[in-house]
Symmetry: C2
Subunit: 364 residues, 2 copies
């Protein structure tokens, strides 16, 4: 138990949504975790409280200068009544890297994991049990000082909220169509692209909307300097299987160091695949495809785990990958990683962390 | 009067701070303006209410994806009891350009100016009267929908808060020392640099802190592609007088279209100066200086109006400009623009807009 943690339980509980109608990020559990920071005092007053509005001065820095960072991870309910988290320490280590870039004070990653476990135990009846459903966890920090000077805040809140979410692919893994963005740029080396901070997502909205209007699910971002090197796919890292070898953009400073990306690289190398982390030109894919060598493409991220790419559109040149179908390797990666996450497959790397054991009544 | 505007006056008023201790962005007036937006309904319920906290769901999009934009302008109290705004319509037109880039719904600029005038009239006793002091106005929009999908919000709040601020130069215009940033990048073409949105400011904090640690007031940003073209100075546009001609970076897509910048260009051309808006290499300044041609450098922005630059440090090569003193032209521009803003000099371009006439008791 986290030292000094106060737990205030909700006196009334919300009606839980039907599991078949969850979607993503629409419902929130009965409680949240919150902790404050003040310059000179550090982080203080960790507490689990009933889910409730945040009350901020209109001059709070988060509204004006976007000094905020976040994380995203999932808890899974196993058939034998345990609650598992996937590499949670990785999220809180990455959070500190984001904090550093955004001049936000560091957090103790171990204490953050401890806080999260406590919150999950209080709200464990919110973890969905149907196949593919899970509990999405959103830790974040916001700058709360009411001061309009452009300078780091002296006050912050660290908050964790949780949302039961539906299966990303209710009808089986499904390839997406991706629009290669040539005008808008998400981030550039020297910027904040490798941090998980609000502004990166705001910067991507416009291109995403335009791609949707053209019938594409997401954009593929190119680098901001040369406008030809592949960065990410929407909010996912991206992989290509070319002539049997797996290629993924290197961590160049402008893309996120995805935890799914890292895990996929581990798994692939464990299976004996060659994985190259390097600068990949968009034109290369079209070349490889002409030569019949572009075998698979997929995005990786916490939400979808693996998202196969069936089609790319780059300046109106359409590239169909694997006949628009989910590739064999993509499917195997998806099955393996989700199997480990649900506790149904062996966990050879010790990735899963137990957050709670269900009360026998709850476990049904 | 803005149609449908509700005015709820504060029952108790705050104690006003001493004018000599205002600083920037520390105190807020008794009231604020607020208006809501919902998809399908548009903007509704415009109201002036007592200054009060904003209450938001912890899943509100502004906290996670930074979908927010803002503006900054000032109201000045004239000796003859009027309240003047400097080109306020320009701010709300720019706000709409920011809105467009961030997928935020547009506002009617005329109605926004009308709302601002109403708010100023309610809080007119907050406008400082001492030389150089003014009322800083911060209009902003935040995305409020409680939904964690990365997509534009369906709900927003438009808010105006106001802060009495002290003179930027209590002891006369004073040149600053500027550090030319070579590692960090504020924005890149194709990004959101030309929008006034929170993420741009968060992205700049780190470099600003490092420059401060080295004894510099602010950073000069270079472009993210070539890392050699001059962009902005902190949160100001920047001008150079080289061999009698004035040079300023062109609006390339990654810098803000500053209203002070625009006004300075107008004034300079009106005075017969040649003004070139173009790509300016940082190396050029060092060359011009060696040839004795770099006469003056200054930043422009609402907060300082004119901020002379006395020294640049680019990769530890120090460049002293005009012996570290305020240049003649910088001083003349400062005196002229602040004179127009305070209603003490003729306003040849019709820039000033009257927001209120003081009650005779208040005018003292
Ligand atoms: C921009 C971006 N890239 C990649 C990812 C994938 O990271 P992870 O695998 O840690 O979820 C995310 C988060 O989901 C992201 O927001
Ligand atoms: C990034 C940036 N550049 C330039 C400026 C100057 O713009 P303005 O003259 O409209 O105040 C500002 C705002 O003050 C700014 O935030």
């Amino acid at each position: 138990m986290l030292e000094g943690l106060q737990i205030e339980r909700a006196t009334t509980k919300k009606v839980k949504p039907e599991e078949s109608k969850l979607g993503f990020g629409n419902y929130y559990t009965d409680h949240m975790f919150i902790m404050n920071y003040e310059e000179g005092k550090g982080w203080f007053n960790p507490r689990v409280i009933p889910y409730q509005p945040i009350v901020l001065d209109p001059a709070a820095k988060v509204f004006h200068y976007g000094q905020t960072i976040f994380e995203g991870l999932k808890a899974y309910r196993t058939k034998d009544g345990r609650v598992l988290l996937f590499r949670p320490e990785k999220n809180f280590l990455r959070m500190n890297r984001s904090n550093e870039r955004l001049s936000v004070p560091e957090l103790d990653p171990n204490k953050a994991v401890e806080a999260l476990k406590q919150l999950i135990q209080v709200d464990q009846d919110w973890i969905p049990s149907e196949e593919g459903n899970s509990l999405y966890i959103r830790p974040y920090v916001i700058a709360t000082q009411a001061q309009l000077g452009v300078a780091p805040s002296t006050e912050y809140m660290f908050i964790i909220i949780m949302s039961p979410v539906g299966a990303y692919y209710p009808e089986g893994v499904n390839p997406v169509k991706i629009y290669v963005e040539s005008d808008y740029v998400r981030s550039v080396k020297g910027g904040v692209g490798e941090a998980k901070t609000a502004g990166n997502y705001a910067a991507g909205l416009k291109a995403q909307e335009l791609a949707k209007d053209k019938g594409y699910t997401q954009v593929l971002w190119l680098d901001g300097v040369h406008r030809k090197y592949i960065e990410e796919v929407g909010s996912m890292n991206v992989f290509f299987k070319i002539g049997g070898v797996i290629h993924t953009p290197a961590l160049s400073g402008s893309i996120l160091d995805g935890i799914t990306r890292n895990s996929i690289i581990h798994l692939l190398r464990h299976w004996g695949y060659e994985v190259e982390e390097r600068a990949i030109e968009i034109g290369e894919l079209y070349e490889a495809s002409k030569q019949g060598k572009l075998e698979e493409a997929f995005g990786t991220g916490t939400a979808a785990v693996i998202s196969p790419i069936g089609e790319l559109n780059w300046q109106d040149e359409v590239l169909v990958i694997n006949n628009g179908k989910t590739g064999e390797l993509s499917q195997k990666l998806y099955d393996t990683l989700t199997g480990i996450q649900k506790g149904e497959l062996e966990d050879p790397f010790g990735w899963m962390v137990q957050a709670a054991v269900f009360d026998s009544q709850l476990a049904k």
